[in-house]
């Protein structure tokens, strides 16, 4: 038994050293990414200083074209939207950005699945893992899962499931300059199945709503906030799931613009790539619409 325990301890020590070394290498690759999600993540944390920022899920990333904001409002714009993510990541990104500056306007595109409804919040910590050493980011981890904070002792675990992306993002150089916007050019061909969610129970995630409120209070007197629900292919028959955001926005006097039932977009296959995402044509049309609305809001505020 003594031999077994000693050998196990030696093995664990060797593994710890390799964990450290591989972690250092992957951190270096990640911090020096030249393309992809890692480049965008680094830009948001260290480089961007645009006046208007877009936050939200893939619906933010694919729906808002920065150059239209810049042309119409004469304000630099960056799209911080991230596929499959919501307020947990966005709050983390806000804290990283606020360490350097406060943007003039933040447009937050709300997606109920990632910003309101209950699901496993651990999945939203992926892009924050490399910033774990920052106190504000560590707090987010602690609030979601104490198990994750223990797993973060492993340097390799921080790169779990992302190693190929990390290597790819390091090798490939990105040449496009869409300021974070991710265009989708495909047009819908198949009529998707409409899934009625009237009878589905709505489980609100109080932790997500807590972070929405923190997002708002941390922006108070520094940044103008606008919450938006961008268009989708099907009309929402039961918008009750957005009520919590509605109430929070009313409480803090934040504009909440809802376009999910806008007939300009509903059931228009040529404007959508799939039932949840506008294609590039749809994004152009929508961005122009939202810019016009924001112009009005800004001029009302200035009056």
């Amino acid at each position: 038994m003594k031999k077994f325990i000693i050998k196990c301890l030696i093995f664990l020590m060797i593994f710890y050293i390799s964990d450290l070394c591989i972690g250092i290498i992957l951190n270096h690759l990640s911090q020096n990414a030249k393309s992809g999600g890692n480049l965008k993540n680094n830009n948001i944390a260290y480089n961007i200083n645009e006046k208007i920022l877009i936050f939200g899920s893939s619906r933010a990333a694919h729906h808002y074209k920065p150059y239209i904001f810049e042309d119409s409002l004469n304000l630099s714009t960056y799209n911080c939207g991230r596929d499959g993510n919501g307020i947990i990541l966005m709050y983390g990104r806000l804290k990283l950005i606020q360490e350097r500056y406060n943007p003039q306007i933040i447009i937050y595109d709300v997606t109920s699945g990632f910003d309101i409804l209950s699901n496993d919040n651990v999945k939203y910590l992926g892009d924050l893992k490399k910033f774990y050493s920052r106190p504000k980011i560590m707090e987010i981890f602690k609030s979601i899962s104490s198990k994750e904070t223990i797993k973060m002792y492993s340097n390799m675990y921080r790169h779990n499931s992302t190693i190929l992306n990390t290597i790819g993002n390091y090798i490939k150089t990105e040449h496009s300059n869409n300021n974070g916007y991710l265009p989708m050019y495909k047009k819908m061909e198949i009529e998707p199945k409409f899934k009625s969610d009237n009878d589905a129970p709505i489980n609100i995630d109080n932790l997500k709503l807590h972070y929405i409120e923190k997002f708002i209070t941390d922006c108070k007197d520094k940044t103008q906030l606008i919450f938006v629900v961008s268009p989708q292919y099907f009309q929402t028959i039961n918008p009750i799931e957005y009520n919590p955001i509605n109430e929070i926005c009313k409480k803090h006097n934040i504009p909440f613009l809802q376009y999910q039932n806008d007939s300009t977009f509903n059931r228009k296959k040529n404007l959508f790539s799939d039932s949840s995402h506008l294609n590039d044509d749809g994004a152009t049309l929508f961005t122009k619409k939202i810019v016009a609305h924001i112009k009005e809001l800004i001029s009302n505020t200035n009056q």
């Binding site: 496993d120 797993k151 499931s161 039932s275």
Partner: protein, 475 residues
Amino acid sequence: MIFNSFQFLWLFPTIFFVYYIVNYISCKKSNNRYSNLLLLVISYLLYAQWNPVYTLILFGVTLCTYIFAILIEDKMAYGKKKYIITIAAILTFLPLIIFKYYNFILESIKELFIYCGIEIGINGLNLAIPIGLSFFTFQAIGYLWDVYYQKIKAERSLLDYMLFVAFFPQILSGPISKAQSLLPQIKASRSFNYEIAVEGLKLLLWGFFLKTVLADRLGIYVDTIYKNYEYYNGVTCFFASILYSIQIYGDFAGYSLMAIGVGKLMGFNLINNFNRPYFSASITEFWRRWHISLSTWLKDYIYIPLGGSRCSKLRCYYNIFMTFLVSGIWHGANYTFIVWGFIHGAIQVIEKILGIQQCKSKGFIYATRILATFIIVNFAWIFFRMPTIEDSINVIRKIFTDFNGSIFIDVPNLLMGALAVIIVFIKEFTEEFYSRVSLLNNKLIVVRWISYIILLTAIMLLGVFDSTQFIYVNF
């Protein structure tokens, strides 16, 4: 306690050390009662984590088979034994039938009556199935039948028997142990054995790799495709079916290996459950390599009592067919599992008629037979995976008719999955055909330890540790 969970990482080492401390004290007194009692308490506490009330089901099945086995042994007259075993079997299977099959049987009867124009207003039960119910029920009933057929003596120690049924490494997903194999190990004094413990760790490591890196990684792609197969073309569906065949192997074999590895670390040798099944040259051979403990159970307690092959040819074919029908039903309360069992039974009957399983071949023909067997098993798995027969047929129809568009590829997940598949294929291929070549069992300690480090690194970087990873696709 699930082996690929965070809880296992801290709980199992604690159990391991406490067990061997108690074991050491027990051995000094030449009495392993305390270490068995400790294992029993741990097994029941771990089971109670899922739902404390269901420990009563576990205890009930255990007590029932324990008492009836003693009654069977004490009743010498054959006629009374038959009645006792019948009552015992009904009582033992009752929880399984109620929790797993009641709703299915009720819905089937309702549909039949609706077809005849009669509506029945009986509601189903809303009960969660006690975890591991199918496994420990079969293990207990196997023991009962062994006593009935006088293969073993009835166990008189309730403590030892309770541990046999509830032993924590195997209770959730097997392997299904035979009393002749496990009970003597429970009764024997056990001391720590370095070589067996190291073997256990290797199995645990390899099982963990199969589960988290191979199975769960491929599962992300498979789930994406099968959830919305209508939106994907036939090539994508076929590719998903291949990956599912690999996924289910990694999942099941991986978990079995972890259970066997944990058993070895505790000083127990559990039955090996998988023997590179996708290198089988016939479906008959497949069932000698896949879920070995279940196929052994089915052979000993269904096939042979029905007459086995010691009867007319027609009767033998019937026996094979019924055995695999039972196998299908055991796997799940759905017609898809019955169809899956039907396919395997029917193919084996055909193989027996044609004498295929006795043919030995080499080279190209052997390789072709392995490929053909894999394709048949692959298509049968579609019925196993899909929620309804209609969905299964739709997927198969798509594979053969829908060639529009290109295959859906999710590069990051598939690349990681491909790496895992390559590693597993190389290991299993060399074990099958070049058994002298081995990395994990290499003579040189440096080679072994580098292999362990590489595997563990692959697990940390490529493993799926939670249910939150997904391919982000919309329609």
